[in-house]
Amino acid sequence: MFFDSDLLMSALRALTPILLAALGGALCERAGVFNIGLEGMMLMGCFTSVTTSWFTGSAWLGVLAAALAAAAYSLILAVGAVTLGGDAVVLGVAMNLLAVGLTGFLLRTVFGVQGTFDDPSLAGLPLVGGLTPLTYLSWAAVAVAAVMLSRHVWGLRLRGVGEAPDAAATLGVSPVRYKYGAILVSGVLCGLAGAQLALGNVTLFTENMTAGRGWIAVVAVMLGRAAPVGVLLAALLFGIAEAAGFRLQGLGLPQQATDAAPYVVTLGALFLTTARRRRRTPSPSGAAS
């Protein structure tokens, strides 16, 4: 059978890092900050979680350190784009580049290896029902984010800051504070995404191991129109594509075809939804900027 519970489980595993990162991206989007540094923040999370887990022997400390490190890293975007008024797109691209260089550099200075750090004594995350606790946490985060954005005063103010910063400021809501908050939370979520990738889906660190997943998360934010449930569905699509790709590889399809599958599926979904939206609304304003 092609569609069975194994496929579902591997889809859920593939989904988790994308979902966590995309939720962070969605919060930034709602606060009016275009965050394309998700990939870099995630990669920082991967490296920190592996390093901390290896030195302390605790995967949980690894997760904590990943969240903190990625949040600290996200300050580059917060200070650069919000305080100094720099270009968020350029900053995001630079953060992604910096993360690749920095983690590669640290991998060699800390562990003295190039490419991959893989040690049998490296502690990975425990599994509950075949999934890591971070997977369950990501589902809870979707619910929390959905409720916050639609019901809680913080969420409403965050949306106000994104949609009409001047009006929000007039009402005494500080756009700067809310934007910083959204960026820092996205940092924490990307850190968790990185920890899930490096200590949950596998137990190792490889240079550039996020391999475009941060970009897929950016697309998931667009596809899901920055709404938590929409983002969940978009990320699920990617998870299924990745899991189906692995399955097809097992059936003899070349690896190159299955490597490309998630990107092709995501792009296809992006076409379909934006084309539908475009018919409904006469003047689309460039999806997510």
Binding site: G104, V219, D259, Y263, T266, L267, R278, A288
Partner: protein
């Protein structure tokens, strides 16, 4: 140069960012126990000395080619992140033409270069169409399209076009004579001349022609340019085609130079696309600045290897340096207390 102009150049954001990058890099070096002066000297002598200059120029060919490919749309505010895919398709197309065209070698080389450019241009145009007709932002469509292209080329090099009997994922070598002429014994080929000519053409178009003016206007204020009659969709398609053609040219040059074949990963692994993007951003896509910045990053990339040999500091440090320069530049940090900082900040907020 008059003293106040010298002072102005020193205070420019570019100088500040480069100095900040060098300083932070020095901190990293001290952190790893290396002597920053020795390491930086190793970068310079390793890339500009007699042993390294050839390597710097051939790396510079690819970096400059991709920097131009990204700078040309960037001048109009469009970011093409699909350089990897366009370059690789150009490379694999040039390899197929080079291997299977039964024409005299010089004609085959010309055809392979043109074919590579056409493949890159068509693929980049596809990303432009995605933005124009489906509303998928160019940044995202170009990047997402890149992955399947890289996978396709990888598949072709590993299966249908693979060199029989070889354990490496590469095509057969080009037939005798199907190669770009090299300068002396070096790895520097006529490809460098082609890329420099492209830079000159870009400079001329930017400075002296109506379309160059339209492109700059669109980059400065897209809405005003549209009001003044610049047709954005057409411009996007044209700029992306030129951009993709240049990326494809770099791929073709890579195949028609040493090792005269398409090797899976050899075009994408050095990260020319990202280095090129960094150079284009550093120069804010200005033609001469892009050339200078590309050379600077080629020096860093080649010098990084020399630094690794002499000081055991990982060469990834140079990638960190590049990114730090751009982080500072993107935040438009300048020395504090300079008039114009606040007004600059306001305009940048409006355009974001």
């Amino acid at each position: 140069m008059r003293p106040d102009r010298t002072w102005g150049a020193l205070r420019s954001p570019v100088t500040f960012s480069v100095l900040a990058g060098v300083l932070i890099g020095a901190l990293f070096l001290v952190g790893t126990g290396a002597d920053p002066v020795t390491a930086y000297r190793a970068i310079l002598t390793g890339s500009l000395g007699a042993d390294g200059i050839g390597s710097t120029l051939s790396t510079g060919t690819s970096v400059l080619g991709l920097a131009l490919a990204l700078a040309i749309p960037l001048r109009a505010g469009l970011i093409n992140l699909g350089g990897d895919g366009q370059m690789v398709l150009g490379g694999i197309t040039a390899a197929v033409i080079g291997l299977y065209t039964p024409l005299p070698a010089p004609l085959t080389v010309t055809l392979a270069l043109l074919g590579g450019m056409a493949a890159g241009a068509l693929y980049a145009a596809l990303a432009a169409l995605c933005e124009n007709h489906f509303g998928v932002p160019l940044l995202v469509s170009s990047l997402l399209l890149s992955y399947p292209a890289v996978s396709l080329a990888s598949y072709l090099a590993r299966y249908p076009l693979k060199e029989p009997g070889s354990s490496l994922p590469q095509t057969r070598a080009m037939p005798a004579g199907v190669a770009l002429p090299a300068f002396g014994d070096s790895t520097v080929t006529v490809g460098l001349v082609l890329v420099v000519l492209a830079a000159a053409a870009y400079w001329f178009t930017d400075r002296r022609t109506a379309i160059g003016y339209e492109i700059r206007m669109t980059g400065l204020n897209a809405r005003f340019a549209a009001y003044a009659g610049v047709e954005r969709r057409g411009l996007t398609l044209k700029l992306m085609s030129v951009s993709g053609a240049l990326a494809g040219l770099v791929g073709a040059i890579g195949v028609l130079s040493f090792p005269y074949r398409f090797v899976d990963g050899s075009l994408t692994a050095p990260g020319y696309t990202w280095t090129g993007l960094t150079a284009a951003l550093l120069a804010t896509a200005a033609p001469i600045g892009t050339v200078v910045a590309s050379f600077f990053f080629a020096v860093l990339q080649v010098g990084g290897l020399a630094m690794e040999r002499t000081t055991q500091v990982p060469r990834e440090l140079t990638q960190v340096l590049q990114a730090i320069v751009i982080v500072f530049l993107a935040a438009r940090l300048r020395l504090p207390g300079i008039p114009g900082f606040l007004s600059r900040r306001r305009t940048s907020e409006e355009t974001v």
